[in-house]
């Protein structure tokens, strides 16, 4: 679901599997990787440098092109303030 009409990302209300087709506002999108509950997917194609908008708030900037339906997370988005710290996998 999208939290606000202006958003370019949607939130998964259930776990989604890679390759699954999801309907978002009447459009079918193919999910590019497993997406856990609460994680984000692109609601439309997002260009590099574009601001990611969730609940009508800027939450970061795309670092690469993101196709509609693709998972939106630390691999393709960076903070405008402070870098995100994750442990090595």
């Amino acid at each position: 679901m999208k939290l606000a009409p202006q958003d370019n990302v949607a939130v998964a209300l259930r776990a989604l599997r890679a390759g699954e087709t999801v309907m978002l506002e009447g459009t079918a999108h193919i999910v590019d990787r497993d997406i856990a509950v609460g994680h984000k997917l692109a609601a439309r194609t997002i260009a590099p440098g574009e601001t990611i908008v969730k609940y009508n708030c800027p939450i970061g900037v795309a670092t690469q092109p993101i196709p509609a339906g693709a998972c939106v997370h630390t691999h393709n988005v960076a903070s405008s303030y402070l870098p995100t710290y994750t442990l090595p996998k």
């Binding site: 209300l13 609460g38 994680h39 708030c57 402070l82």
Partner: protein, 397 residues
């Protein structure tokens, strides 16, 4: 109708605990040994580990030992530490509470101090049980809020539901405190628009800018790897969720650790130290923030968690609001409220907000929270330094 324990300063507490406080790490073991046999009887261990003097730590200990939920205090000193124990003892005694200071070097070592301490605690507990509660109004309540172990569900369920509970409490005339300016980075413009006046709005923006600069110097945002595993991508996204805890009310002012809200309303607690970075991370973990909320007079703490935190606190009950339905399935024994039902479509945000509000009333009247029932009494206090509040931080009504 609520019930509370009346203190000499007119404030009322929703618990009547006895604190045993060590004034340097060297007295920690002795203080813990004194308190442990009385753990189930409302005796809580608090303390400050450092041996160097620090005005912030002294002020925090003064506020904590004279918190409305505290009925008496035993101070345990080694004897040679830098903490200003006489000043602390003077403040606790002046508050009308039973107070006693034991010096381990004077008392003759570990065993003698433990014996003397336990004897004092036993005697004082007997007097505390004769303390009859009095009627307490909802507008005498101070509630603090924090999130910990956040994930992407926190901002969708638990945090906005707590915001609704905050709005209900504020409508009753209570004071509510939200915090962690480092987790409001990116929200400064929205927050400034809710300020009681323009000057306060400017201060709110300054407070967040200070936090961003502080964390930038340290090289990390207030963002744990688990936050990213839970679907939060950036500090701004974490902030967006954290900000939802504050509800919809106007922001009445900014306070700093140890300063009680001067009147009813919604306050931002500025937890990031002033001046150059000196003692490290502003709050090294969630309990450091909880302790600061309590030192501002919070009777009860609302704690939202997505990944699943289990902590409670000394002095004030912690209400755990679980944001994630999967976490609830695994850890419901630790949780007070199942806000993940909102995600599953089994409850609405206003319903869960009302549920939290109702539970606060019951907890204020003595119902133990899950963390209290499980014996959680976490406490941590470290070094910090603050300048006094600026004149624009607390506008007159």
């Amino acid at each position: 109708m609520l019930q509370g324990f009346l203190r000499a300063d007119g404030r009322k507490g929703i618990r009547n605990v006895l604190v045993v406080a060590y004034l340097v790490e060297c007295a920690h073991h002795v203080a813990r040994e004194i308190a442990t046999p009385f753990r189930e009887r409302g005796v809580h261990l608090i303390g400050f580990p450092g041996c160097y003097p620090n005005a912030y730590a002294l002020a925090m200990m003064e506020k904590l030992c004279t918190h409305p939920n505290v009925g008496g205090a035993l101070l345990v000193s080694l004897g040679c530490e830098g903490f200003d124990k006489r000043q602390l003892a003077k403040v606790v005694e002046a508050s009308g509470r039973p107070a006693r200071m034991l010096g381990i070097q004077d008392a003759g070592g570990t065993r003698r101090t433990i014996d003397a301490g336990r004897e004092w605690v036993e005697r004082t507990l007997a007097t505390l049980t004769t303390h009859a509660p009095v009627a307490m109004r909802a507008d005498e309540l101070v509630v603090g809020t924090i999130c910990g172990g956040s994930d992407a569900t926190s901002g969708l369920t638990a945090n906005p539901a707590m915001g609704i509970a905050f709005d209900l409490l504020l409508a009753d005339g209570a004071a509510a405190i939200f915090e962690e300016t480092g987790e409001l980075i990116g929200m400064e413009h929205l927050m400034a628009a809710r300020a009681a006046n323009a000057a306060l709005g400017l201060e709110l923006k300054r407070t967040v800018a200070k936090a961003a600069e502080y964390y930038a110097t340290l090289g990390y945002a207030s963002f744990a790897p688990g936050n990213a595993d839970g679907g939060l991508t950036t500090i701004e996204e974490k902030s967006l969720g954290a900000y939802a805890k504050s509800g919809q009310a106007k922001i009445a002012g900014i306070i700093k650790p140890g300063i009680a809200p001067p009147r009813k309303g919604l306050y931002l607690l500025d937890v990031v130290p002033d001046g150059e970075v000196r003692f490290g991370f502003p709050n090294i973990n969630d309990n450091a923030e909880i302790v600061e909320l309590i030192a501002c007079g919070s009777h009860v703490i609302l704690f939202s968690t997505g990944r699943g935190s289990v902590v409670g606190s000394a002095i004030a009950p912690v209400v755990k609001v679980c944001a994630n339905p999967e976490t609830w399935q695994r850890m419901q024994d630790d949780m007070d409220i199942d806000a993940g039902r909102i995600l599953e479509g089994r409850a609405t945000l206003p319903e869960v907000g009302r549920e939290i509000y109702d539970l606060i009333g019951r907890v204020a009247n003595g119902e133990p929270t899950r963390s209290e029932a499980l014996g959680h009494q976490e406490f941590i206090l470290t070094y910090k330094s603050f300048e006094p509040l600026g004149p624009a931080c607390l506008p007159a009504h």
